[in-house]
């Protein structure tokens, strides 16, 4: 229930327009341009609705890493903390260039992922907008910190470029690591392609920083397929950016000694002292998952729904997320050409999970095929828990360890299930 605050210029980066939250400015006047501002200084803060939904866009053919860079360029990020790991490294390098160009206020390479994810927690507590990225083993190394972010109510952005995590060590795409994020409590979006890798981080920042949400957001894509391959990405101009983080309108106080209470110890451990403390920890956890539920409203607004449905009403529905969606789109096209009645549901938001949307979209379905790029089939499990008549679910096909998924494999599965 945080209080309304008068604009605190000290907490607003100088070059930001204080009116930004409410309106999207007209293009800069001529004399302004003459000043030859560079980097963030040359950008205007605009309303998120404008930047995400309304601003005119141009198509470019770029890699996923470049798409992420362009997203970050417009995200008004304060600090980015990097640590190399394939296939993520390119992205944080690109973000480093943004820092050099003046789009980000601070940037450094951390010691390793535990240190990086801890520093992200520190920066978020300071009230700034913070970003990092990792992959596979890096995520595993940082996971102790990552699962503590939601409980700390720490808005932040974690980009995840999925790769093999288990021995034998490999760098190939395989999104099993997302299954480790499912129970952390944070928001998890799974992007299909370069376009999603541009859009989702911007949306994620805005959703995670809503007072009733106040949660970290992870945007995952399947490594290499997305990060290193080029695709068409529709983007608005470079000269606009999101409003800065409005840290005094969040669910918890900032650790800046500028907002009350002074005796915050906001993160003080719930000590084993009595039931009531247990009750507090229990209520604390409930609140995290409740906050996730509240995020749906905003995800619907900016993500255009937690799911996308192709061929609604088809008897056979494919349910997929990430790169498996692209393969499934092709499968649907070929199936339709063959006169088969096949549809597709793309799950954009894994946390919060679109339970209701899925049930409505699958009401009519007789068969539900869930293709995945991992061995354990975490998405199939999620789907089975979410819907009824689970005998309709065919939990596959699956590839893993870096294999790609031939469209034929999906078509065969559909055929075999007849």
């Amino acid at each position: 229930m945080s209080e309304e605050v008068k604009e605190n210029t000290e907490t607003q980066p100088r070059n930001d327009d204080p009116r930004a939250h409410v309106i999207s400015d007209p293009p800069p006047a001529k004399e302004e341009v003459k000043k030859e501002k560079t980097g963030a200084a040359a950008q205007r803060v605009v309303d998120p609705d404008y930047l995400i939904l309304e601003a005119p866009r141009k198509k470019e053919f770029i890699t996923g890493s470049e798409a992420a860079k362009e997203s970050v360029r417009r995200a008004n990020v304060d600090i980015a903390i990097a640590y190399p790991i394939t296939p993520q490294s390119e992205t944080m390098q690109q973000v480093g260039y943004l820092y050099a160009e003046g789009y980000i206020k601070d940037y450094y390479r951390g010691e390793e992922e535990i240190g990086v994810m801890s520093a992200v927690a520190g920066a978020s507590r300071a009230g700034v907008r913070v970003l990092t990225a990792t992959a596979g083993p890096g995520l595993m190394r940082g996971i102790e910190q990552i699962v503590s972010w939601p409980g700390g109510r720490l808005p932040s952005m974690l980009l995840v470029m999925c790769r093999v995590v288990n021995a034998p060590l490999a760098i190939q795409p395989d999104n099993i690591e997302i299954s480790y994020l499912l129970n952390a409590g944070g928001i998890v979006l799974h992007g299909e392609n370069q376009q999603d890798f541009y859009d989702y981080p911007l949306i994620g920042f805005m959703v995670g920083e809503k007072p009733e949400v106040t949660l970290p957001v992870a945007v995952a894509v399947d490594g290499f397929f997305v990060t290193h391959a080029r695709g068409w990405v529709n983007m608005p101009a470079e000269d606009i950016k999101l409003p800065p983080r409005d840290c005094y309108h969040e669910a918890v106080p900032m650790m800046d000694n500028e907002n009350p209470p002074i005796r915050i110890s906001r993160d003080s451990p719930i000590q084993k002292s009595n039931f009531i403390s247990y009750q507090m920890h229990a209520a604390w956890q409930q609140e995290i998952w409740a906050a996730q539920e509240r995020a749906k409203k905003w995800l619907n607004r900016w993500l255009g729904g937690l799911i996308e449905v192709v061929n609604p009403g088809a008897k056979t529905m494919i349910v997929a997320s990430g790169a498996a969606v692209s393969q499934s789109r092709e499968a649907v096209r070929q199936a339709t050409e063959k006169g088969l009645d096949v549809g597709l549901i793309k799950i954009k938001s894994i946390r919060p999970f679109p339970t209701q949307e899925l049930n409505e979209a699958l009401e009519h379905a007789e068969k539900i095929v869930v293709p995945e790029f991992n061995y354990v089939g975490w998405l199939a499990k999620e789907v089975k828990v979410a819907i009824d008549r689970t005998d309709r679910v065919i939990a596959g096909p699956r590839v893993f360890g870096g294999m790609t998924m031939p469209t034929e494999l999906i078509l065969e599965t559909i055929a075999a299930s007849k």
Binding site: E10, I114, G115, G122, A123, D256, S265, D267
Partner: protein, 294 residues
């Protein structure tokens, strides 16, 4: 603006419990308190669950007196006894994950510097020997090598007190501890040496014997960290429970240990030395000027 966070909004003061009213009227915020004033003003730290006669508690109280600008300080800690007291201090306290203090402090300090360009914000890590020398070691060393501008204070009780008496890297060789059943096999870690190697601007080794010296050292460390670079204080704060030190003898023990192997020792980098000498001169000049005015 900060002081406003300890000023009740109009009309609310009377409704606050006495300890908060005292903090407002007679707390450590309005001016720098001296150790000699202890007992004559409301300390930042409230009643806490530390054991009676705990040297660490005394040290922590002195840190709260010493901090040069309480209203602009944030403290980072980790698991261990110390946080039981620090949690009750009237300063924002970040209780992170195990041994993450110096990485969290890095992000926190950099974040605060972005938001508060004209107001220096002091970040102080205060954690135990286990938290800093063992599980948090990598983060500590890297924050030093990166020259992060905050102070690290090690509450060195040479044992994992909160978990019931296991040996840490800072435990002396040969000590029989809960996880060194036949005695600890290696020497106490030389964190001060490592700090110098890593380029820490100011380091000090100190025992809990001389309150004024403790306060001065802490103040110096925080001020140097603000202007020059990382600073480190390694303080002997015995655990009278796990080392079975009689409560009235805790300070005697601190003195013995000080004589024996924990003597007061300071080190300045050249840059830190120059900064400190000049700021001392400046303070003297100001004091003189103040006298003249009177």
């Amino acid at each position: 603006m900060s002081l406003k966070t300890i000023r009740p909004a109009t009309g609310f003061k009377e409704y606050l419990p006495k300890e908060y009213q005292d903090l407002i009227d007679d707390g450590p915020f309005l001016r720098q308190r001296k150790v000699s004033e202890l007992g004559s003003f409301k300390e930042a730290i409230e009643e806490h669950p530390m054991c009676a006669g705990c040297a660490m508690t005394l040290f922590i109280r002195l840190v709260f007196v010493a901090l040069p600008s309480l209203e602009h300080t944030v403290i980072c800690g980790t698991a261990g006894c110390g946080r039981l007291a620090i949690t009750q201090g009237a300063v924002p306290f970040v209780y992170g994950n195990y041994g993450d203090t110096n990485a969290v402090a890095t992000g926190l300090k950099r974040g605060l510097d972005i938001r508060f360009k004209d107001t220096p914000k002091d970040v102080v890590v205060m954690a135990g020997d286990g938290g800093l020398a063992d599980i948090g070691f990598h983060a500590v060393m890297h924050s030093w090598f990166r020259k992060e501008k905050f102070t690290t204070i090690m509450l060195d009780n040479e044992v994992y007190g909160n978990t019931g008496g296991q040996d840490s890297g800072m435990t002396q060789k040969g000590m029989v501890m809960k996880m060194a059943p036949t005695g600890k096999k290696f020497e106490k870690m030389d964190m001060l040496g490592l700090a110098k190697t890593a380029g820490v601007a100011y380091t000090a080794r100190i025992s809990t014997t001389n309150p004024t010296r403790i306060a001065n050292t802490v103040r110096k460390a925080v001020l140097i960290a603000r202007e020059v670079g990382p600073t480190f204080i390694q303080a002997y704060t015995s655990c009278n429970i796990e080392y079975a030190i009689p409560t009235p003898k805790v300070i005697d023990d601190a003195r013995d240990v000080e004589k024996d192997r924990y003597g007061f020792e300071e080190y300045y980098s050249d840059e830190a030395q120059t900064y400190w000498d000049e700021s001392e001169k400046e303070r003297k000049r100001l004091r003189k000027a103040a006298k003249k005015l009177k």
